[in-house]
């Protein structure tokens, strides 16, 4: 893991270290099995069409976990995620697979965040962050917020 982040080293407007992700049709199948969400919307093209979506979309909950990873990577082993929220505002479409292991060329999603508040409450050293996912066009499809406890050198 990366070096531990300390509350003392964070200020309002500090950037959360960005995390790139690529959604593939294969990843969506893995996610369905791992999460137990077998809605055909995420792997069956004709079902997706019948629902007015056009083609299979990335699970909102998978995007949620990308944002959770954004935070847990950044706060490190000594940090604790206390609150987390996100909204699935726009649909994202996975890349198809070119081979068993390689996706086709296409979109990369970036999970990003920024500190909006830094404070101490009940002896805990806390930060509030705006977090979001940007699609390949730079549009925020999945905005959210997170609150974490960080270790303090104090």
């Amino acid at each position: 893991m990366a070096e531990q982040l300390y509350w003392d080293d964070v200020e309002v407007d500090t950037e959360v270290k960005p995390l790139p992700k690529v959604a593939t049709s294969q990843m969506l199948v893995k996610w369905a099995g791992a999460s137990g969400d077998f809605n055909p919307l995420h792997y069956d093209s004709s079902f997706a069409s019948s629902q007015g979506i056009g083609k299979p979309i990335v699970h909102g909950a998978l995007k949620r976990q990308w944002l959770v990873q954004l935070m847990t990577d950044w706060i490190g082993e000594q940090g604790t995620l206390k609150k987390f929220s996100c909204q699935y505002r726009a649909m994202d479409y996975p890349r198809n697979m070119k081979s068993m292991t390689e996706p086709e060329e296409g979109e990369t999603w970036w999970c990003k965040g920024r500190v909006i508040k830094k404070y101490v409450e009940d002896g805990n050293h806390l930060v509030d962050c705006d977090i979001w996912i940007e699609n390949g066009q730079g549009e925020k499809t999945t905005p959210g917020k997170a609150t974490a406890v960080l270790p303090s050198r104090g």
């Binding site: 909102g60 990577d73 995620l81």
Partner: protein, 158 residues
Amino acid sequence: MLPEEVTQFIGKSTGVRVFEVEKGAIRRFADAVDDPNPLYWDEEFARNSRYGSIIAPPGFFGWPSRQPRGAALTEESMAGLSTALAQAGYPRVLDGGIEYEFFCPIRAGDTLAASTEIKEIRERKGSTGNMVFLIRETSYFNQNGDLAARARSISIHR
């Protein structure tokens, strides 16, 4: 106006479901996210961490156990809600978002008891047609009776 067949579900609860947080399920979950965090994968790292063992990623509460058909009152009551929404003109559903509060770590081997309550069912008029926002709140208690996490999820029906 939503019919009573739909609104009668407000305040209803699913009853308790039990989730076993298995190590293998944690790893399949982390693999699906493509999250290499050693707290989910590396026994020795996890043992030497302040958690003392492999933990579940925030947002993972164990693979939802499927009950045999007919055995689970909970799934039947939810199916009734979907049918009522479809009959009211809202057959399609999308995940709208989620809010979590995390109160204590969830470790591999924990058993969680969860119940979900329908908190709110709201109709909203939109430019592309009406939608229904449905808010469910789920509380997860661990085997010691401690509240481990609470989730509020929003589904959008149209």
